[in-house]
Symmetry: C2
Subunit: 325 residues, 2 copies
Amino acid sequence: MDLSELLAPIASDLERVEARIRGDLESEYPVLARLVEHVSRFRGKRLRPALLLLSASACGGVRDLHYGLAAVLELIHTATLVHDDVLDEATLRRNVESLHVRWGNEMSVLFGDYLFARAFRVAATLGDQRSIDLLAAASESLCLGEILQTSERWNAALSEAQYLEIIEKKTAVLFGAACRLGAEGAGATPERAAAFERFGLGFGLAFQIVDDYVDLAGDEAAAGKSLGSDLLKGKLTLPLIRLLAAVPAERRAAVTELFTAGERRQERLAEIRRLLAELGIRDIAVARAAEFAARAQAALAPLPPAPALDLLRRLAALVPTLGGA
Amino acid sequence: MDLSELLAPIASDLERVEARIRGDLESEYPVLARLVEHVSRFRGKRLRPALLLLSASACGGVRDLHYGLAAVLELIHTATLVHDDVLDEATLRRNVESLHVRWGNEMSVLFGDYLFARAFRVAATLGDQRSIDLLAAASESLCLGEILQTSERWNAALSEAQYLEIIEKKTAVLFGAACRLGAEGAGATPERAAAFERFGLGFGLAFQIVDDYVDLAGDEAAAGKSLGSDLLKGKLTLPLIRLLAAVPAERRAAVTELFTAGERRQERLAEIRRLLAELGIRDIAVARAAEFAARAQAALAPLPPAPALDLLRRLAALVPTLGGA
């Protein structure tokens, strides 16, 4: 069963979120309307809204507030995609050319800023102080995670613990916030809301580990986006950290050079892919993602059975497989 | 009387805002602490906090909330400075090298995002829903203003009305929000709060007109920041619009080429400066700024006398002179 089949039971709820996003981004200014049209073609898996809606559903039901919060989450996420693509010099996103390819870096930075401001404006209109707190904290965390990752570029000594701290901040916290917002907005107790947040954190860690593996070893046509940017930008991710740990000591210097040298990227990428296969790093990455997915599922274990909980658990189980065969 | 003398009566209040900003930006992460230390050296005139505090003072007194709001305004402003300097390729800011010169464009974009997220996080902790609304709307407006300006680059047919719409959105709205936040937070009536907002809008328009004149004709050493970026980036501002209107029709094509051609920037800047002097554009820009400063003062005219009102009026009167002799 693939992702869209799994999400079929909430397809109409996700459509309502889409409509909400479209309405929130309507603009009388032609230039903004064109920028919005461009990013609307990036429409992705909408995982964050899905987790929020399912968490709400498992805690008493989806309310009007939830559609607005889901839209805000997706606006924040889209803002980060626009900035990421500029910074990563990525040219493809969901099989559409990146915003900066068509509009230039300046407009893309400004439009990312606009989306972020718009997200907070929409959040403010929802009138729920607690949600604004959570959204602002999650946004700050993801910026901090990106800053920490950027400051550790080209550092071949980056530990797995440091890597996990970075991806928790830059990715998992927003997934955790999605689940917490869904649960709290449906009136969950603090203990229950915390359990949903833990689910989102585990889910997000698993998701980012898979995403990082795909960036190194995936197929651009299948992924629909530019890959290899971590290597280009000197970002050490789990597959490289594990690769370094797995090679015999006498080859470590040569392997380190593969991802700290600045040139011949295609050749280096090919050699790294060969080594990832030789040393079984794909299995290691998938196993690590599966561990975090299991941790996510465990967070929900104490809760009484519910269809939405079952869906959340199955979504988590799917994440380690998203990297493709 | 210069700006710092005029602001002397609220110097200790402004110090409290400084302390608040320092506290809000404290971080356990060394890389963030170093980035914060860098931007703290940009410390500017703190005009937005000053307008907020004086508006509060004129409407019943400065409360704890106001220091927090002033800090948030300054964080938002600092975020835009960091991004502006990247986009404008400016290398100097308050006589200190721009953030991107030392840290690179990627870190600067991310740190601008962080400051923006941090601003909203601080705003959320203030627990005043209405303020978050105003701050988010002002932030959205300033991003929109920047986008409109960027989309009209190299357009020699830009009208003064379009220019004024752009600078109202990108600059004046935040000054207007500063005054409204000060007034509303002190319990002003809606009519009174609207009058303060109008003051801020007029003040902001006057301020940006002067700033745009300085960017073309000012002295970098005196301004303490990189100048000429509007010309470099094809941004038509009031002095150029008025210059085009003032030259005889037969010279218009040649003058237009001065700011639409991509090369020989120093030569073109020198020629434009000569024309600005020849055609008396400085006086025109100063007069236009003075009109908006007078409009700002007029907004406060119906209010009963108060020392803070007097200071606001004198600040507005000072703006047209800030461009230097």
